[in-house]
């Protein structure tokens, strides 16, 4: 199992039929974006219809997990018991994804060192045998 950054009591992912495949890919440590098979537009979160061409046909495209910080906030109130504070919520602009941004966390960095535009890389957190959640850390951090 991976390094742990957040406690077990964090809110669990909530999924429906449309979004469940994304979490199943995550459990396999694959970060994917939904891709419209009619017009190639990529999107997150997953949805039943393409917002550009309104096709209902889509598949999943894996992305490398590199990106840069688009914005962030350093949160000083806990969401779960036994949570380390502060923690960082960030919007990451994903490289090689067709322009998709994802909400996630920054880990392994002091808040004062965070800058919009800084390059980051994916690190998976295995919350259980069935659930992995993508977090991000400064690019080039040692494993």
């Amino acid at each position: 199992m991976s390094e742990r950054f957040f406690p077990d009591g964090m809110p669990p992912p909530l999924a429906d039929v449309t979004t469940l495949p994304w979490w199943e890919a995550a459990a396999d440590h694959r970060l994917v974006v939904q891709r419209c098979t009619a017009c190639e537009h990529t999107r997150l979160p997953p949805s039943p219809v393409c917002p550009e061409c309104r096709s209902a046909d889509a598949d999943w495209r894996e992305v490398p997990g590199r990106g840069e910080v688009y914005t962030y906030t350093t949160v000083h109130r806990p969401i779960a018991a036994n949570q380390e504070l502060p923690f960082v919520v960030a919007v990451i602009a994903l490289e090689d994804s067709g322009g998709v941004r994802i909400i996630s966390n920054l880990v392994g960095v002091e808040p004062e060192e965070i800058a919009i535009g800084m390059p980051v890389e994916l690190v998976w957190e295995d919350m259980s045998a069935d659930l992995a959640i993508p977090r991000f850390r400064p690019a080039g951090s040692s494993a």
Binding site: P13, W23, V75, A81
Partner: protein, 407 residues
Amino acid sequence: MSRPRAQVVGVGESRYTRWGKIGDVTEHALACQVIQRAVEEAGLGVDDVDGLASFAEDRNEAVFLAAELGLPALRFANMVWMPGGGGGCAAISNAAMAVETGQAEVVVVYRSLCQGQFFRFGQAGRAASAPVDPEPPTVQQANSLMLASMGFAMPYGLLMAAAAYALPTRRHMHLYGTKHEQLGRLAVTFREHASRNPRAVMGGRPMTMDDYLASPMIADPHRLFDCCLESDGACAVVVTTEERARDLPNARVEILASEQGAPKGYGFGPFTNANVADAIYATGGCEEMAGRLWGKAGVGPGDVDVAQIYDHFTGCVLMQLEDFGFCDRGEGGPFIESGVLSWHGGSMPTNTHGGSLSEAYIHGLNHVVEGVRALRGESTSPVEGAELCLVTSGACVASSAALLARR
């Protein structure tokens, strides 16, 4: 030829308290009370009411209130979706449309919130004290579209509004150099307005810029005093036709125009809109709606005498000022620093009741009440000769806004 426009003829309010402090009357009963108060203040009777409208998933469903209040007939009942205050002026708009099209004659818009009697999201962090031994985490069933989309925010700990709305504000600071002190100036100004308002929860608590800067950081850049109150309370507004309004006692306030909307891809704002166009992200998301509002009303930002701007967070007020064209994009900070929003010498006193930051957070319907009072000359921070008031609801969510005019 312009059609006769709907008017606001009555307002009613309960006492306003801190979150969870109203426990002696149910939220439901409070809704009934404020509807009755507003109707009485209008010079009407409950028998005259034939429509009810609310927003923010208000728990007090119209059909039950209608039965309990004994309305002879319920001809119009309407809810604007989504939690929070983005729909306040949309509910006013719905009421206006109902009376202008003859679906109903007297529609009461209401909101009642006694949250200690229920759970509200964002309070989850408060209970993080005793260690728990939970089941191994797994994916859970989402029972609504909103919950499914929150599945891409909540596992990362993005649960509090203070954290979500910090995201576009932080980017605004990055793009334009907006400063903490500019956000603080809003908090201090609205607190000063609250000092003259006996209804204001924070009316007895003066705030200086030093107090603001010393307040604890919640979700950077949001300090405690950048965040609106969580309140218990209720208020209501009576909307009727121009013809009916002529026979009623209060000074006449017309709904000159009202609009609602959200840009492409907006969803539930920063909880879900990470992929909205870059040009929209560090804004309040109200620019297109504002353009429609000014266009339909035939007035512009320079015509506004007094404003009640939805202030869930200071940064969202700043971004709305830009969206509505009071200043250029990126110039919200200097605009605020110029003092224009202050009752003391400002050209457009704003949140003359103290706003959600310092009066109470009734999801912005109390901003409609204050707008009406301001144009009647009844505000505790009166603006002499005020004829046009902008009221906004939302920002960084699907939003709405209304222009009220003295008639």
